[in-house]
């Protein structure tokens, strides 16, 4: 769009701001300045993303903005923004306790922006190759950040994440190549055969066998990033050992980005009548992840791993919903994804402060939180209530829609789904009880925390459970229609 002569391309902003910020943050020494700059940069990115509503650039062979990734871009930039606020206070505390030294903080902030850039790029890429590169970049940055504490556990987690991630990436690349191979005879050699807009249009005449093969590889490749069982192994440790803001971003955003990639390819297969339906595969993996993660919740002793597994569970539900397809299920899937991003990051904000005030992540060493730190405690409870799918919060609505719409179509699946949800709820509250209630355990020092991000997220989730603005609804419904 053009503002008093100066043409301004929001899309460029979404990509450029993080890069510039990363460069600056890499050199600036002072902690406070960098933290502020970090927040400023994410704010700008968010503004650019929002301005995408008003002027949407024409798709180029490399970049594309449509309704589908619009949803994701706004969500990503928003959570990136709030997380940067949270990370300011969090990292401050880490500096005080000396777990991080200034150079590492500088590195951390730079990496944060790079991560933002990578995710935004992955979202706006109109080219499957470019998207792949972006996701690989995002993976590498998060690997570095997970290992930032350089404890044995952190290195172990980072290494595990790195290896499993690389294999996933490799598989995804193979799938991408296969898609190209499938497209080439139809679209012709060269760039066009990797461009979304073209691919989706022509997908009807692709070689179904190649598409099937491609989808298998893509499902496993990007599914590793989504954290679907049995490809999930990296996820809990990466969440548990990295700095909490990164856990929040991982759960809240990176998983979504990978899922977004999957959705794109699902659309591709859906457009081809002869190819096998992607639905059943996604439904199976989704249910598997849900039930598996639900059972894993019971024996958790580390609070961040607990919620990491809950992320797996919810990714399972979302994948299931998209696998089921249909207007209601897709709508529910989108809603659930949004709600989960907001809620889970809010939970990690709370967990971060809890771990800081209690000085541990062991659930056994924290207790009676609602007595020692009422605000944190009740915030955490509210978050868990939300993530467990209880009203009045938004996930209740999405689960309501998923379950009820599924039961009418495939009762058995719905029963498995309900079983998983129930088991997960029981597991979550089993742990929550010992954290939030009972005789206070562990230190009860005052927490210098920034509650704003957490409660902003929770307020949004709450609002969604009660009232959703028609514009948003129309948008989601449109996207749900796109997903078919």
């Amino acid at each position: 769009m053009t503002i008093d002569g100066v043409t301004f391309n929001p899309l460029a902003g979404v990509l450029a701001v993080p890069v510039v910020a990363a460069a600056l943050l890499a050199v600036l020494p002072d902690y406070r300045a960098t933290a502020r700059l970090n927040v400023v940069a994410t704010t700008l990115t968010l503004l650019c993303a929002l301005s995408l509503f008003f002027g949407r650039p024409q798709p180029t062979p490399y970049l594309l903005v449509d309704d589908l990734n619009g949803t994701f871009i706004v969500l990503t930039t928003f959570v990136g923004f709030t997380t940067s606020i949270f990370s300011a206070s969090y990292i401050g505390h880490e500096l005080e306790t000396g777990r991080l030294t200034p150079p590492f903080v500088r590195f951390y902030h730079a990496m944060y922006q790079v991560l933002m850039f990578a995710m935004n790029l992955a979202l706006v890429a109109n080219n499957i190759g470019l998207m792949w590169v972006a996701i690989e970049l995002a993976t590498l940055t998060t690997v570095l950040m997970v290992g930032i504490y350089r404890t044995h556990e952190a290195l172990e987690a980072a290494w595990k994440y790195f290896i499993l991630g690389s294999v996933g990436i490799a598989l995804a690349l193979f799938g991408t190549i296969l898609v190209y191979m499938a497209a080439r005879p139809v679209v012709g050699e060269g760039l066009d055969a990797m461009v979304w807009t073209v691919l989706v249009r022509r997908a009807g005449d692709f070689d179904p066998a190649l598409l099937d093969l491609a989808f298998v590889f893509l499902l496993l490749g990007y599914g590793t990033k989504v954290g679907l069982a049995p490809l999930h192994a990296w996820l809990p440790d990466a969440h548990a050992e990295g700095p909490t803001p990164i856990s929040a971003v991982l759960s809240g955003l990176l998983l979504n980005v990978a899922l977004y990639a999957l959705l794109r390819f699902k659309m591709l297969l859906a457009a081809n009548a002869a190819a096998l339906a992607p639905g059943p595969l996604m439904v199976t993996l989704g249910l598997l992840s849900l039930v598996f993660a639900a059972f894993m919740l019971y024996r958790r002793r580390d609070i961040k791993r607990l919620f990491a597994y809950s992320s797996i569970e919810h990714m399972g539900i979302i994948t299931f919903a998209f696998g089921m397809g249909g207007p209601i299920a897709n709508f529910a899937g989108l809603l659930h994804m949004t709600m989960h991003s907001l809620t889970k990051s809010a939970i990690f904000f709370a967990v971060g402060h809890v771990a800081q005030v209690k000085g541990t992540q062991r659930i056994a060493d924290m207790g009676g939180l609602t007595e020692t730190h009422p605000v944190l405690g009740w915030g955490l409870i509210l978050g868990v209530v939300a993530i467990a799918g209880l009203p009045p919060l938004g996930i209740f609505m999405s689960e309501f829609l998923v379950v009820s719409s599924t039961f009418a179509r495939a009762p058995l699946l719905a029963i498995i789904l309900v079983f998983g949800i129930l088991v997960a709820l029981a597991g979550l509250f089993l742990r929550l009880n010992s954290i939030a209630f009972g005789e206070p355990r562990g230190p009860s020092a005052k927490a210098q925390a920034s509650y704003v991000p957490m409660f902003t997220h929770l307020a949004l989730v709450l609002a969604a459970g009660i009232y959703m603005p028609p514009a948003l609804v129309a948008w989601f419904q449109n996207v749900a229609g796109l997903l078919g």
């Binding site: 290494w159 595990k160 290896i163 499993l164 294999v167 996933g168 598989l171 099937d212 093969l213 298998v216 499902l219 496993l220 590793t224 049995p230 490809l231 990296w234 809990p236 096998l276 595969l281 598996f292 059972f295 894993m296 019971y298 024996r299 249909g326 009676g368 609602t370 467990a388 209880l390 009203p391 009045p392 209740f396 609505m397 309501f400 829609l401 379950v403 009820s404 719409s405 039961f407 009418a408 179509r409 009762p411 719905a414 029963i415 309900v418 129930l422 709820l425 029981a426 509250f429 089993l430 009880n433 209630f437 009972g438 005789e439 459970g465 009232y467 959703m468 028609p470 609804v473 419904q477």
Partner: protein, 669 residues
């Protein structure tokens, strides 16, 4: 108009909850919150009562909330109006009671925000007219009451009770969710009008019934889904216990009725078999469990299970009669059930208030540590006695009136053509009679051990009469119990619109009958006049008293009790709750609860005291829930090994997944 008032009241309650969060810790918070609750519920109560008594046409309203393309539908018809009355009446009394009771609350900021929200949620359920709003209110009701159950969270039992409660509640909600999914169909027609418009086939309807029975039953406390109830209800503060037992279970009954009588289409006769069988079992199991208890509040909670059973017997009969087109009889059975809903909410609240008063006066819930309270807190003792007589179904109080109606309905069941029911119904009748007798026994125990006899502990000795707010609430309820007992005709007539809406027929009008008797079918067949019975008893009692005091002696001497020549026996020699229940435990408990009594009697010359040990098992927990929990735990342990694999093993997981998928592709045709 009424609907608007009710919704405004709900909104006000939500606002009040927010206010309570803000006020947290302020000294006046308690009075403000409960005072405001009293006013709001009173207004809403009056409005609802007016709506029901005028038999006004259903009102409906849609707000742009909830599921976007659907909106939040609200509807106030006769059924919702009646249950709204039950909710508001209970809430009103609880709020008044709490004005005094909650002064003793140690951590009010853990109760105040959730109490109004709880009330609001229950109102929401009753008013909801689409699946989302209904379940929203339903689950929010569970959530808020869970928060109230764990309000005294330092006691581990409470937290555990809350845990079990929350899981069972969510289980029920999910069952209902499936049920609504069934009724709404793949198109997602979530509004109740749409469901009424497209009733399911008989088999699907039966499935919906089963799901409703599981969903609503788990909230109402149908055996075997009742396990949470005796844990959770006593754990909450007493006014909340009263609400949960007296009102929330009724909201569950409402949910069941709304689905089964309104949405699930025309019933098939065999639907009622499940309901009746479960209800009969629930009735007797509940009272037997209660007899084995010596924790006062838990005993009351188990009696809630029993009374829910009685209510569902009525509902099952109504279903059976409706299925066979015997509409007037169906109306009779339904009236019996609804009337018992009201009655139970009255006397159960009263009893829980009494237990709360005892708790504040003595700090004890265990009857074995009480006794002789009638001397220390006479008013409480009196109203509690009224409650006991009412729940024990003694004429002329209200409990008897509704059970009498249920018996009349059972006596009409030979009209049923289907054999299964002909065999089942009399058996259920026997169970009901048995339960009634056992309930009487149980409340002899509860009242006798708690209020009569001599105090067993210093705490009981020091007890003092409770505050005036609590007394006011209890007296109000006691009076209502008496009125409902001696003038049941008025209530039956008030319930006519509900029957007309759900059954399509109503009981004959009672208002014209001589001396306000109730005549279900015909005077020659059966009739009962609580008023006359009451008057006769008063007259003959007064007559006897007057005559004796006038003509014979009215002198009176105090002397020690007969002690067989062992002077000043300690209070420990009195009968305790456990010993009182011993004969019944021996008759029923041996088979049902594997009750074992082991006596160790020291040999002659040995000065050790003899010991009697009683051990009992809960069959339902042992056979259903314990294995379930164990299974989940075992599965969790198995899967947990996956957390400790090495990277290579994880890679091999990925690898095998890939190979499997490729194989699938290879053999896919």
């Amino acid at each position: 108009m009424t609907l608007t008032i009710a919704l405004a009241g709900t909104a006000a309650l939500f606002a009040l909850a927010a206010l309570a969060v803000v006020l947290a810790g302020a000294a006046a918070a308690t009075r403000i919150v409960y005072g405001a609750c009293t006013i709001v519920t009173a207004v809403s109560l009056v409005a609802a009562a007016a709506h029901l008594l005028n038999a006004a046409a259903p009102l409906s309203l849609t707000l742009p909330l909830g599921v976007p393309w659907l909106g939040a539908h609200f509807r106030l018809d006769a059924l919702s109006a009646f249950f709204l009355i039950v909710v508001d009446l209970g809430a009103l009394c609880a709020s008044v009671f709490a004005l005094g009771y909650a002064e003793h609350e140690t951590a009010p900021q853990r109760v105040l925000p959730f109490y109004p929200a709880f009330l609001a949620a229950m109102t929401l359920v009753v008013l909801a007219d689409d699946a989302y709003t209904f379940l929203f209110g339903w689950e929010f009701m569970s959530l808020t009451s869970w928060a109230l159950v764990v309000s005294h969270h330092r006691v581990p039992e409470n937290v555990r009770a809350g845990y079990v409660y929350l899981i069972m509640a969510s289980f029920g909600t999910l069952a209902l969710l499936l049920g609504f999914g069934l009724l709404a169909g793949p198109g997602g027609l979530y509004s109740f009008e749409a469901m009424r418009g497209a009733p399911p086939s008989a088999t699907l309807g039966a499935l919906a019934l089963v799901l409703a029975l599981i969903g609503a039953g788990s909230k109402a406390g149908i055996v075997p889904l009742h396990v949470w109830l005796p844990l959770a209800h006593p754990a909450a503060p007493s006014h909340v216990s009263a609400l949960m037992s007296g009102v929330m279970t009724k909201v569950a009954v409402y949910g069941f009725m709304r689905i089964v009588f309104d949405l699930a289409g025309a019933p098939a006769w065999w639907w009622s078999i499940m309901v009746l069988a479960l209800a009969g079992a629930t009735t007797v199991m509940g009272v037997l469990y209660a007899l084995m208890q010596h924790d006062l509040k838990r005993l009351l909670a188990y009696h809630t299970v029993e009374n829910i059973g009685i209510i569902f017997i009525g509902l099952g009969l109504a279903l059976a009669f409706k299925a066979h087109g015997l509409l007037f009889t169906a109306a009779l059975a339904l009236t019996a059930a609804l009337f018992h809903v009201l009655n139970h909410s009255l006397f159960k609240s009263l009893l829980f208030f009494g237990a709360g008063a005892v708790l504040t006066a003595t700090g004890e819930r265990d009857m074995e540590h009480l006794g002789g309270l009638i001397h220390r807190m006479p008013q409480t003792a009196f109203v509690f006695l009224v409650g006991c007589a009412a729940i024990a179904a003694l004429p002329p109080l209200n409990g008897f009136a509704s059970e009498w109606l249920t018996f009349q309905a059972i006596l009409l069941s030979p009209q049923l053509p289907s054999w299964g029911l002909r065999i089942l119904v009399p058996a259920v009748g026997a169970l009901l009679a048995l339960a009634a007798a056992l309930a009487a026994a149980c409340f002899v125990k509860a009242y006798g051990v708690t209020f009569l006899g001599r105090p067993r502990t210093p705490a009981a000795q020091r007890a003092a009469e409770t505050d005036r707010y609590s007394l006011a609430a209890m007296i109000l309820l006691a009076v209502l119990c008496l009125i409902a007992g001696i003038l049941p005709g008025l209530f039956i007539d008030a319930l006519a619109p509900v029957n007309a809406a759900l059954i399509g027929a109503r009981m004959p009008a009672q208002i014209g009958t001589q001396w306000l008797a109730i005549v279900p079918i015909a005077a020659s067949r059966s009739s009962y006049d609580g008023l006359l019975v009451f008057l006769f008893m008063v007259m003959s009692g007064a007559l006897a008293a007057a005559a004796i005091h006038r003509l014979a002696s009215d002198r009176l001497r105090r002397a020690p009790a007969w002690d067989c020549g062992y002077p000043d026996l300690s209070p420990a020699t009195q009968y305790t709750a456990m010993s009182f229940a011993q004969p019944i435990r021996r008759v029923f408990g041996t088979a049902l609860f594997h009750a074992r009594e082991t006596v160790e009697m020291p040999p002659p010359g040995d000065t050790r005291p003899a010991r009697l040990k009683v051990e009992m098992r809960d069959p339902i927990w042992d056979f259903i829930y314990a294995p379930l929990a164990a299974g989940i735990g075992a599965a969790a342990d198995r899967l947990n090994r996956l957390q400790f694999l090495t990277i290579r093993q994880f890679l091999s997981l990925v690898f095998s997944a890939l190979v499997i998928l490729l194989l699938v592709l290879a053999i896919w045709s």
